[in-house]
């Protein structure tokens, strides 16, 4: 068995870990407005060269962000107060050189744009502004909360024998809810 085969058989499981170790940081900015929490975030490193290669190949690249408003707990698991899912996808037509970018929230397209500028695509894919988080219960005054955003990129360029539950990027921002 060659070294390459050994790597293919044994080391592929490690690749997932390496990829996870290289996941992008997400800058989260929660804002409390009129008793509600909205979150803006950017993932500047998410639109990486790998992502660009995926886009250039004509594959539909999707960044799926899970946004959670959570209440920390010292003795138990943190409680999720509100959550939503937003996504950005881009499809590149190499014949015309046009990027078709769409943004979705909870599975619905809320915004779409075409461009031939890659930089614009990177910005649209990694920045979301004013994502409203509707809590299932009234937020407690002067209580600590945090907004957590985790990113999953599809398709993956890596392979792991245990691909489940791995984020491609994450970020968190704590705040105190003051009414």
């Amino acid at each position: 068995m060659t070294r390459r085969t050994a790597l293919a058989l044994v080391g592929l499981a490690v690749i997932g870990g390496v990829a996870a170790a290289g996941s992008a940081d997400i800058n989260v900015t929660p804002v409390v407005t009129e008793g509600k929490v909205v979150a803006s975030f950017t993932a500047p490193g998410a639109f990486s060269d790998d992502a660009r290669e995926v886009v250039k190949s004509g594959l539909l690249l999707t960044f799926t962000y899970g946004v959670e408003l959570r209440r920390p707990s010292a003795v138990w698991f943190d409680r999720t107060v509100a959550e939503t899912t937003v996504a950005a996808s881009v499809k590149f037509d190499s014949l015309t050189g046009i990027y078709q970018v769409s943004k979705l929230r909870d599975g619905r397209v809320v915004w779409s744009e075409r461009t031939d500028k890659e930089d614009e695509v990177g910005g649209w894919m990694t920045a979301f502004d004013q994502i409203a988080l509707d809590p299932t219960e009234a937020l407690e005054s002067n209580a600590d909360y945090y907004v957590r955003v985790h990113l999953k990129i599809s398709p993956r360029r890596t392979f792991s024998f245990w691909p489940w539950g791995r984020d491609d990027g994450s970020g968190r921002k704590d705040f105190t809810f003051i009414r």
Partner: protein, 765 residues
Amino acid sequence: MIFDSPPPPPPPVPDARRRPLDNPRVLIAVAVLLLLALASLFWLSSRTSDIPPVYLSDFVLYTLLAVDLALLLTLLFVLVRNLAKVWYEQKQAAPFARFRAKLVAALLAMAIIPAVLVLVSGSEIITSSAARWFSEPVDQLLTAAQDIASRLYADHQEATAFRARRLARTLPAKDVTSGQMAAIEPIMKSELTTMQSGMIELYRAVTAPDGQLDVQFLAAEQSSTLPPDHVRALADRLALKALASGREEEAQDDLDSGGVLIRTASPILNADNTAVGAVVVSEHLDGAIKVEARQATNAHQNYQQLKVLKEPLQGSYLAIFLTVTLLILVSATWLGLYLAKRITRPVQKLAEGARAIGAGQLDFRLEPETGDELGALVEAFNMMAAELRTSQRKLEESRLDLEAKNLELDGRRRYIETILDRVATGVISLDSGGQILTVNGAAERLLGLGRGAIGQPATVVLSRPDLQPLLPLVRATWRRDRAGVVEEITLAREDREIHLAAASTALTGEDGAAEGAVLVLDDVTPLIRAQRVAAWRDVARRLAHEIKNPLTPIQLSAERLRRHFAGAGPQTWALVDECTEAIVTEVEALKGLVDEFAQFARLRGPRMLPVDLNQLVEDTLRLYAGVLQQGNLRVERELTPGLPLVRLDAEQIRQVIINLVDNAVEALGGASAPVRPGGERPTIRVATSYDDQGGMVRLVVTDNGPGVPPADREKLFMPYYSTKGRGSGLGLAIVRRIVAEHGGEIAVDDARPSGTIFTVELPAA
């Protein structure tokens, strides 16, 4: 003994541990499912080129990895479980555990080693094949094709942009605003003539009712070759977009006819540099060209996608291969273990069955699981067990029969032994070597032998001085073979004679070989004694008859002589008186003697009535009260109170007591007996007692006189034997006869320090 017909064999013991997988239908279903799974995987692997890479690298890959994980866990579970079972069986030293362990190891090795080798080599093939998917020339070729296609589009786009820009500068803004087409249409037609196939559309800016910027279509010029399926709304939106942005806007509209319209919208500016309208120039690209360009682009994109997704795609193929391998491995492993179980389980069951049969559970049966050779073996085992059961049952019946016969024989033997032991006839059996085998109680008693005589040579045992008369008999037995020897032998034992009628018979087998001899001894002493007594009674009767008859005439004649010579002279009278007196006196004595003879001869049978023996003794001894008052002689009574009544003839037993007491008085010297030499007072002790074990009442008369010599003891009870030198000698003979007729016995023994003891035993009522 009646033998019942053999019961039907018990049904085979059902195996409660039988699992669903032992059912052939389940096995077939599992095999079909496995084949379906393998077929699905082969189909999937053959259709990977048709599956979108993203779908392959995401959904399919995740699914396969989940299946791989499940199969891996299943394989580990199957291996660990079965290896643990094998280890446990070996630890418990279960039958065929080592054989099963070796079989499992061999089958696992046969399944795992090839599978692992195939997995390793297949993985290497996949990895090396993936590296060959991509090559620089192909990459360059596809990139060049894609560049050409995109350049074609770009050139058309630039051309439309150039025309739109030129028209926007050429068309008079005020005419556009006012909608005066006279000056505009020639310009548009002139421009159209320079285009191979295209269309020019003109719009002017207007304000919508809601105040928003909008466009109004003014005119359009198009080539005659332009397909009619283009949609003006798309040009409307592009014009509005250019008007709103104030810059050129580009678009490509695919036509249903297959071609594409490459459009560019350019705003028309007035002198104030305000957009008053927009011109949209569209060039038609033929469908065939579009298809070729798109094919080139798609080929390039597919190639790039493969490059991008090389790793997950490779993982997908590995996962498919791993799934197939694990499926085969799990199936082969399970099948190997299943086969090992199928092979060893019947053997283990046979071993368990053999142990059960060995432990006596002959009803144990095995259920054949298969119809193959192992099943035939199980059937043979069951037949063997059934035959063993039948044989065991017959043996048991034979054993019970033998036991019953043995018990019967044993009972008979004990019965015969009891009879032999209880009979008055002595029986001694000898083996062929002349050694004593058995001696019954009568023989022991007659010959004074103990249990130690058994096993010793008869010649040794009978060499004892008092038994030596038997030796010739035994020797004669061996000499005469089958012919019996009968002799009357008299033994002198313990100062008395024993008369034996001895018969000896040699025992021979069917082949004539000597097997031993039997010596039968009958004590005929009482018979001889009775014969003598009978003879004496006859003599007494004759004496009484012959002697008593002349006595009366003799006495009368003497008295007549006496009366006749009453007047004779003194000398004569003295002589006659003396002679007649002597005659009369002797005649009276002879009469008394004859009366005793007559009494002995005519002794009647006893009239038995329940009598208190103590009271009878008291009444009898009271007769001696007056007689013995004057002398030294003393009569003592030791009467045990509470004696049971004895059935006896009171008059005869009274005579027994009187005779015994009279004998004692005579032995002590009469009523005025002198003091005994030792200074003892002459004493007669009459005692009674009861032997509750023997049921006999004893009457014992003891004196402290001189006693009876041992040689005379047996003769004491013979008629006409007297040690006193006077009397008839019939007293003790009468006593023995009375006691014997009462079913009792009388014995004489020495008293200590001197004297005689007469013991009479009478059966209690």
